[in-house]
Amino acid sequence: MPPRVAFRASRQQPVGVVIVGCGAGGGVLAKELSEAGLTVLVLEAGRRFIAGVDYRTAEREFEVTAPTVFAPEPSRDRHTCHGTAFEVSRVKGVGGSTLAYLAVVPRFHPSDFRVRSEDGIADDWPLTYEELESYYSEVEYELGVSGPDGEDASPFEPVRTAPYPTPPHEFNKASLAIKRGADRLGWHLRREPLAIPTKPWHGRPACLRAGACMFGCAAEAKSSIDVTYVPKAEATGRVEIRPRCVAREVTVGDDGRARSVVYLDAKGQEHEVFGRVVVLAASAIETPRLLVMSRSRRFPAGLANGSGLVGRYFMEHLAVVAFGVFDERLDAWRGTPAGGSIQDFYETDRPNAFARGFTIEVNCSRQWPLAVARRLGVWGASHRARMKDVFGRMVGLATVGEQLPDVRNTVELDPVVKDSFGLPVPRITCEARDNDRAMLRVIPRRLTELLEAAGAREIWEPAYMPGWSAHYLGTCRMGRDPRTSVVDAWCRAHEVPNLYVGDGSVFVTGAAANPALTIMALAMRTAEGIVRAFRDGHA
C-alpha cells in the first residue's frame, strides 16, 4: 500500500504540481519535485500493478495469460488511423510503458541534438548533449543501468562522465551467433545499456535472466518506474498517485495560466483538481490529445497551440524485424530479451540516399514454444515437424531507425469515434516519408547481410512494422521560437507559463536510440526548472 499523504488537493488549497501520467516522465518528475519540497498529485489513467501478484510469468500457460496483464482496455484505449495502419503499443498504469519495456536505455548522441547544423535536415534541439549529460548520469545511477565500459564499450558511445553503475550482462548463445556475423563484417555488436542491474541495486535483486521483461518483472529486478522513482516519490509523504483517473481537460484562468485538471475516475465520475503548476506527461499520443481537448475562448485551437503545432511532427522509430534460423541450438529465451546492439549505421553517411541512420538490436524476445508456433503459421502434419526444425534455433533482429519529423505526421482528435468516456479518440497519421522510405530500402539489406554472415541457414524476409517500436515522440516539440515550437528548452509551454510537458512529445527529432533514458533525463531537468520557478515566485 502506498504511504498516506500529508495533503489533500482542493480548490481552496491547490496542490503544488498536478502531473498527468505516471510513466518515464511523470514518475521522475513526481520524485524530483516532492524531494524538493513540493506537493504533487499524479493522475494516472491505468491501474497500479503489484509485481508479485499480477505478473504471470511463472505459469505454464504464461504465453496465454501474461500478455493479458498490460493489454489495452478496448473501450478506453481506442485509436484510429489515417492512411497506413498503425499498431499502437503502450501501457497505461503506474509505471507507464516502462512496465513493459525491454529496458534498453542508450543515451542519444551529441549529433542528435544538432541535426540541422550537422546534416541540414529537421531542426536542432534547443539544448545540447553536454547540457543533458549530468542528468543522464543521475538517472542511470537511480536505475542501476548495466553497461560495458573500457574495451568492451561501443566505439560509438557518447562521452560519459561516470561509468555504468553495474557491469554488463553476458551474451546468450543467440547473441553470440549474431556477434559472429558482426565480427566478420567488421560491425560492432556490443552489450547495450540496460536498466536491469546485474547486481543488487537500491534494495532490489539482480536480474534473474528470465527473459520475460515485457510482461513485467515479478522479481522487481527490472528498473521500471513503479519500482524505482515511484516508491521514492511516495516516501516523501508529499505525493499522491490516483490510478484509473483519465484527464479530460486542463482549464485556464482569466490570467491565461493553467488552473486545474478535470478528470474522470474509474466510475466515470468527474472531478477537478487545482494546481499551481500542471505537467502533462501522458505520452506523445495522449498529451496532444488532452491539449486539443482543452479548447477555450482564449485557446480556440487547443491549449498552448497558438503555433498550430500541437499534435504535429509525430514520430516513431522505424522498426524492421527479421528472423534467422541456425543449425545450432540458440535457446534465445535465456537471458535478457535485448541481446546487444550495433550502432555502426547511426550517423548520417553521405553516400547514403538518406540522412541520419539506425541501430540494429538483437531481439531474443518471444522465442517460446507458442510464440514460435504462431509465427510459423502452419498446422497439420507439417506443423510439428517444422517446429522441431526451427524451435530453439531462431533469433530476431530489429531496428531503431530514425524517422525524421514531418509536419504531415500527426495525432489529432477523431471527429467521429469516441472512447468509453465519450471523449474523442486519437487519430494517428504516420507515414514513412521520402527520407524514411530511402532508409527502409537499406535496412532489410543490412539485416540480411548480418544474418548471412552469422551463418543463418534460413532468413525470414525483414518486415517493416509501423507502430511496433512503441517509441512515440514529437507532438509538442521544444524550441526557442514560439512560432515553430510548443514548449521552450525547459519544456514549459510558450503560451502558458505554468504548464509543462514531461514526456516524449517534446522531442525535436527521434534519434536512432530507444528514448526512455532521454525522457527521464529531460524530466529531471524540467523538474529543476519547475523548482526554480517556485523559488523565484513565478509558479
Binding site: 505478473y55 511463472a58 500457460e61 504465453e63 527473459g211 535457446d331
Partner: protein
C-alpha cells in the same frame, strides 16, 4: 468433433506427442464451458465446418476419412488466407481482399453452406489448439524447452535449467 479437429491440427504420431496425447480437446471443452459466449462461438463454428463438409464432400465431417477431412479444412483455410489482413498488401490486393470479405461475410452470397462462419472460426480454433498444445509439459519436453521464465530465471545461459 472437437477432438477430431484438434488431432488434425496437431496430429499425434510415433515421432512425438500431438493434440490427443496432451488432451487438447478436453482443455478446450473446459475453456468453452466457462463462458456462454465462447460456448456459443464454438457451437456455431463446429456446425459451420460440418456444413462445409456436407456441401463440399457430401457427408457430415465425422463421416469422412481423415484425408477428406483435411481437404475440407484446407478449403476453409484457403478462404481464411484470402481475406486475412496483410500490412504490406498492394492496393489491388486490398481491393481483392475486401471483395472476398464481402463475398464470404455471414450475410453475403458466398457465406451460404457454412463458409462465412467457418472461415472466421477455423483460424481461431487453430490458435486455441496451438495454445493448449504448446503450453503442455509433454510438448515442452519434446522440443527441450526449459520454461516457464519465472520464478527461477536462468542462472546459466548456456545450459538447460536443471541439467
Amino acid at each position: 468433433m472437437l477432438s477430431a479437429l484438434a488431432e488434425l491440427i496437431v496430429p499425434s504420431d510415433g515421432d512425438g506427442p500431438g493434440a490427443r496425447d496432451t488432451r487438447v480437446a478436453e482443455s478446450l471443452e473446459r475453456h468453452a464451458s466457462r463462458s456462454a459466449e465462447v460456448r456459443a462461438r464454438y457451437a456455431r463454428g463446429l456446425a459451420a465446418i460440418d456444413l462445409v463438409a456436407r456441401r463440399h464432400a457430401g457427408s457430415p465431417f465425422l463421416g469422412l476419412p481423415p484425408a477428406r477431412q483435411l481437404d475440407v479444412l484446407g478449403r476453409i483455410h484457403a478462404v481464411a488466407e484470402r481475406v486475412r489482413w496483410r500490412r504490406d498488401a498492394s492496393w489491388a490486393a486490398r481491393v481483392r481482399r475486401r471483395l472476398a470479405r464481402v463475398h464470404y461475410s455471414v450475410a453475403g452470397w458466398g457465406a451460404r453452406h457454412g463458409m462465412g462462419e467457418a472461415h472466421v472460426f477455423f483460424p481461431r480454433l487453430v490458435d486455441d489448439v496451438l495454445a493448449q498444445f504448446w503450453t503442455s509439459r509433454q510438448a515442452w519436453q519434446w522440443v527441450s524447452y526449459d520454461g516457464p521464465p519465472m520464478s527461477e530465471g536462468y542462472p546459466d545461459l548456456g545450459t538447460p535449467r536443471g541439467a
